[in-house]
């Protein structure tokens, strides 16, 4: 299934991706990221905004999926957790592309790229993926 771009809470992430932008929810008052998105800031109850990030990140960890254990994604593929430069406490789940798994190292610098992912059912959608710099 493609993610729902019209979902009030999560949709803006995917609308941004369609415009080749990486955005996450941010509390301006606390000046910190709040991830995943919430109705308001859990600390100050203030409004959250979708802030654009540079796309620079580091690799927290990854796994190369080698067997058909996910009905929607054909192996092999590499998925993992990356920490954006502006909010290192946040983990973005993503795909790691343009790199063999044996070249990956924890904490290595990555850069965002926008590619279409094709779900098993439905239309392809643009997604923020990451590759080594």
């Amino acid at each position: 299934m493609a993610p729902d771009r019209n979902d009030p809470l999560a949709g803006p992430f995917w609308q941004a991706a369609a415009n080749s932008e990486l955005r996450i929810t941010w509390c301006e008052h606390c000046d910190r990221a709040v991830w995943y998105p919430k109705a308001d800031c859990p600390q100050c109850q203030g409004e959250l905004h979708w802030r654009a990030l540079s796309g620079d990140a580091t690799l927290l960890s990854w796994s190369e999926v080698l067997a058909p254990i996910n009905p929607d994604h054909a192996p092999p593929y590499i998925t993992g957790l990356v920490c954006p430069l502006e909010a290192p406490e946040v983990r973005l789940v993503t795909r790691i592309v343009d790199c063999e798994a044996d070249r990956l190292r924890c904490d290595m610098p990555l850069r965002v790229c926008f590619r279409a992912l094709q779900p098993r059912e439905g239309q392809p959608f643009m997604a923020p993926l990451f590759s080594p710099c």
């Binding site: 979902d7 960890s61 190369e64």
Partner: protein
């Protein structure tokens, strides 16, 4: 020993800053496990969970020397399909007594915390003999294409929007990602990790009731497997099973007059990570939330890892079991790879070797995937002296429960 206040327990149970202990009242020694019951554990059986649950409940009641009409409490799991209701109980046993009912029971973390919930219910005189039961038919469901353990994850809205689109699903992918980081930080090798599935398999190979009874696992076989989600191989992942287990909890003062040596509930702990339920956002991905549960249980029981004879840890994945052993305090975080080598988790190890007998029934990896309820039943057998893989002179046991963002600890002790 006088009862300890919640404040005193909290002082004795310091925890890291990326999660919290839930403040459980001191219920040390108030409740005993007085009866256990199990069905066969199998692959796809076509059996309905309620039928399996009733079989396990009947066996547990008989084992406790009770009649069904003497049971006045029933605890089951929430969020798992087709668990027992009070009406099911009465219809099956032909009874009509008032039945205190709770959905804070079952398996996973609740296989530990249900004993605390039951103690509070007994204090309030809501029930005297409480049955906890859990049944699952995921082997049948998977074969029929009608359900998997990943269903909740796939339906959760944030996971559906921010994890599934990238293929970070199902659970083996989460825990492979965590295991990869652990390997990076602490130098754990595939050969070292193999000690967990291999030791649990050796336990199962001695128990005809275990699903993997006839399937031996060598290091060569393990290493020859292509990982499912690197670095986790098939043998690092839990089975998918059908089956049920149950136990009876009774007030300690009544347990002394029941057929079996009472197995006292000495300590319970329950912890949760900040950011729950999204483990992708867990600050430390090289540990489970067990460090937020075990200290509280040890403080309540006034005990420590050195006094424990046998453990059962929730081992949905081998790497999770490793982190649970560390979280219970048997070694420091990162030292588990060394700690588990040779025979140190085997039921028959020499005590001077160190280590701790772990998952002596084979665990979720090799006995069955009953989500931890069989782990506690196994510990009761160990403390009674009735286990297939009996640990010599086992008197104190600990269960480490887990549900990804939460963990729990149950400390049991054989009474005199």
């Amino acid at each position: 020993m006088p009862q300890q206040s919640i404040e005193a327990l909290a002082r004795r149970a310091p925890v890291p800053d990326w999660g919290q202990s839930l403040p459980l009242e001191d219920t040390r020694g108030e409740v005993a496990i007085t009866g256990i019951g199990e069905t066969a554990v199998t692959g796809p059986s076509g059996r309905h969970p309620k039928a399996m649950a009733l079989e396990a409940v009947a066996a547990a009641i008989t084992d406790a020397g009770l009649r069904p009409e003497q049971v006045d409490g029933l605890m089951v799991a929430a969020g798992v399909a087709d668990q027992l209701t009070a009406e099911d109980f009465h219809e099956h046993f032909g009874t009509s007594q008032p039945l205190w009912f709770s959905t804070d029971g079952g398996a996973m973390v609740w296989a530990a915390t249900c004993a605390h919930t039951a103690a509070l219910a007994m204090r309030r005189k809501q029930a005297r003999h409480i049955v906890n039961v859990f049944a699952v038919d995921w082997a049948t469901r998977r074969a029929a294409g009608t359900g998997t353990p990943g269903d909740w994850h796939a339906s959760e809205i944030m996971k559906a929007h921010f994890e599934l689109p990238f293929g970070w699903y199902p659970q083996p992918v989460y825990f492979a990602t965590f295991a990869r980081r652990y390997m990076h930080d602490y130098g754990l090798t595939a050969e070292q990790l193999a000690a967990l599935p291999m030791t649990f398999r050796r336990h199962a190979n001695r128990d005809p009731a275990a699903v993997m009874y006839e399937r031996e696992l060598t290091l060569e076989k393990y290493l020859a497997r292509t990982p499912l989600a690197d670095p986790l191989r098939m043998e690092d992942c839990c089975l998918i099973s059908d089956g049920a287990a149950a136990w009876v909890m009774s007030p300690a003062e009544e347990a002394r007059d029941m057929p079996h040596a009472p197995i006292a509930v000495e300590g319970v702990g329950h912890g949760r990570v900040h950011g729950a339920p999204y483990i992708s956002q867990q600050r430390v991905i090289t540990a489970t939330p067990q460090p937020f549960a075990a200290p509280w249980a040890y403080a309540m029981a006034d005990t420590a890892p050195a006094e424990i004879d046998v453990i059962a840890v929730y081992d949905c994945f081998s790497s999770t079991a490793l982190m649970q052993i560390e979280g219970l305090g048997f070694c420091r975080e990162g030292e588990g790879g060394e700690f588990i080598q040779e025979d140190r988790l085997y039921y028959q190890r020499h005590r001077r070797l160190g280590g701790i007998p772990c998952n002596t029934h084979g665990g979720l990896l090799s006995h069955s995937y009953l989500l931890g309820i069989s782990h506690v039943v196994e510990l009761v057998k160990q403390l009674r002296g009735d286990a297939v893989n009996q640990v010599d002179s086992a008197r104190v046991a600990a269960y480490a429960g887990f549900t990804a963002d939460e963990a729990s600890t149950l400390i049991l002790k054989r009474g005199n």
